[in-house]
Amino acid sequence: MIANQLSIFAENKPGRLAAVTKILAKEKINIRATTISTSDTFGVINLLVDDPKRAMAVLTKAGMMVSLREVLAVLIEDKPGGLDRLTQLVAKENINVNNAYGFVLESSEKAIFVVEVDQTKKTEALLEKHGFRTLDTEALSAIEPFHYMKY
């Protein structure tokens, strides 16, 4: 499954992230994870949200420059070695990771590791073959409120 990540252009000055979260809060869009990558004078805010298409529409309407990117949200076990199994596999297959970040769903239970790679489809197939579960946007938004992982 492939998930959508929201990337927002931001000038490197105070209040840019706050401006984004304010709009999303008003629209009751839930943010699941955030990373910011910056260069000298500008940066990109990456967001995983429960409704990326609507988030893109409202942010664009507010004048922001927004793009939807395909990422893989991989379910991993939140215990020593959980992430290592994934990164070893990716390294072994020579897949270039452009951006990666993670967040814990249930302490000591499950975590989501988000990876941005050059060949999303190929990587997805590889991960599924090795028993990893990747989540799409719907699955991601369904998780949190219901402690979905505890089944």
Partner: protein, 432 residues
């Protein structure tokens, strides 16, 4: 094809004879103004000393400061009751200058605007929407009168209110528009928002673009966005306003109407005349104006005369699109730079949006140039590396043209300041 064939295709030799008659008449009329009467007396100049066109070099240049100092009546050469119209220049610094017209002046001006518009294909029955500010600014009434003279249906829309502009274009089948180039770029985004395709859903045939210097690339961008021809219009209120020089269908330089203006190009630093083909400051003398004749007026606009005849058959010489203004020129680390040079470079780089802003700062004895560039919305994919690459490319391209290394910032589309749709290009924070 011609509004007046005899006038527009007159032989250069005959044209020069008319110019000489016009010049003599202007010198005679100018004696009616206190400014020129005193000036001629102080310099011991006699009208009879001017025997041929080249003798004009003996006469002093007139500057905008002269107009300001002798504001408001010092240049008026006729009785006050002869004046029927005043206009004012859109000066950004100091007191605005005023220009007065007699009834004949308005007629002569209207004739030039009609000639210019007709040249691009406007005819009786066309619908002309004028998106310029009406009022003291000459771009409103100047074009308005010219279009009426041709017999077009004129929609005096005025500036701004983008959605209404588009509504008018659609409702009344507008075929020609007059628009500021940076506003044309902005308006195309409003067309998108309203889901109206200017290429398919309108009857637009052509646009007249002027009132701010722009590059060839910017013109082509506008033509692509709208699917029409965009003709460059040049004018300044001191020489009436629009209708001074205008592009013909060849779109290779602007015919400057030499039956009403005597044209010189001078070196802006020394004031010495330059030959055809050489770039310098445009200097103009009115040949038919009654109310306020001006002799050797420094336009502060930089251009050159394009040597050789034009394929359209008109004999009036052509000037190249304005390269910049002598007072827009920035001097940074001893290098002369014009905003139009920066614009030209930027517009050639894929990913660059519609606006940019140059900030000049001084730290100690060193000057710094910071260029903020809007990114094109479609270019952004969320990839930081791609943005960094664009930024580096802009630095390199600018460096190769202006010879100093600017600091370049990328900013979001539509985030840079605009005043009345006209882009602000340079902010100089250096203190002397």
């Amino acid at each position: 094809m011609y509004w007046d064939e005899r006038e527009e295709t007159v032989e250069q030799a005959r044209l020069q004879e008319t110019q000489m008659e016009g010049l003599r008449e202007t010198l005679r009329r100018a004696q009616g103004s206190s400014y020129y009467r005193d000036l001629f007396k102080d310099r011991r100049l006699q009208i009879d000393d001017i025997r041929k066109l080249a003798d004009i070099e003996m006469l002093p240049l007139t500057t905008k400061d002269d107009l300001r100092e002798h504001w408001p009546w010092g240049f008026v050469a006729v009785a006050r009751e002869e004046l029927i119209r005043m206009h004012s220049s859109s000066g950004t610094t100091g007191r605005a200058t005023v220009i007065f017209h007699t009834a004949n002046d308005i007629k002569a001006w209207t004739h030039l605007v009609a000639r210019s518009m007709y040249m691009t294909g406007m005819r009786r029955g066309d619908v002309f929407q004028n998106m310029m500010t009406y009022g003291l600014f000459t771009g409103g009434l100047g074009f308005h009168y010219g279009a009426e003279e041709i017999g077009a249906l004129v929609i005096p829309a005025g500036a701004g209110n983008s959605k209404r502009q588009i509504q008018l274009i659609c409702d009344f089948g507008t075929t020609f528009i007059h628009i500021i180039p940076s506003y044309a770029l902005y308006l195309s985004t409003v067309f998108d928002e309203m889901h109206v395709d200017p290429r398919k859903d309108t009857k637009l045939k052509a646009a007249f673009i002027g009132a701010e210097p722009h590059s060839e690339k910017m013109r082509r961008t506008i033509e692509d966005l709208y699917g029409f021809k965009a003709y460059n219009s040049y004018g300044l209120s001191e020489m009436n306003g629009p209708g001074v020089a205008f592009e013909c269908p060849c779109q290779n330089g602007l015919h400057i109407w030499e039956d009403q203006f005597l044209v010189e190009i001078i070196d802006p630093l020394t004031g010495k005349p330059l030959a055809d083909g050489q770039e310098g400051e445009l200097v103009m003398t009115t040949l038919k104006r009654e109310g306020m004749p001006l002799i050797r007026y420094r336009t502060k606009d930089l251009t050159r005369i394009i040597p050789g005849p034009c394929d359209c058959g008109r004999t009036h010489r052509r000037i190249e699109r304005i390269k910049g203004r002598t007072d827009d020129m920035m001097i940074i680390k001893g290098v002369n730079i014009f905003p139009i040079q920066i614009e030209k470079r930027l517009m050639e780089i894929p990913g660059v949006g519609t606006n940019f802003l140059v900030l000049l700062d001084r730290e100690g004895y060193d000057d710094y140039m910071n260029v903020q560039v809007e990114v094109k919305r479609e270019f952004f994919t969320g990839d930081l590396k791609q943005l960094e690459k664009l930024r580096r490319r802009i630095v390199e391209e600018l460096k190769s043209d202006i010879l100093i290394t600017p600091r370049v910032d990328l900013v979001a589309p539509d985030s840079l300041p605009k005043t009345e749709g006209k882009a602000v290009r340079v902010i100089d924070n250096r203190k002397d």
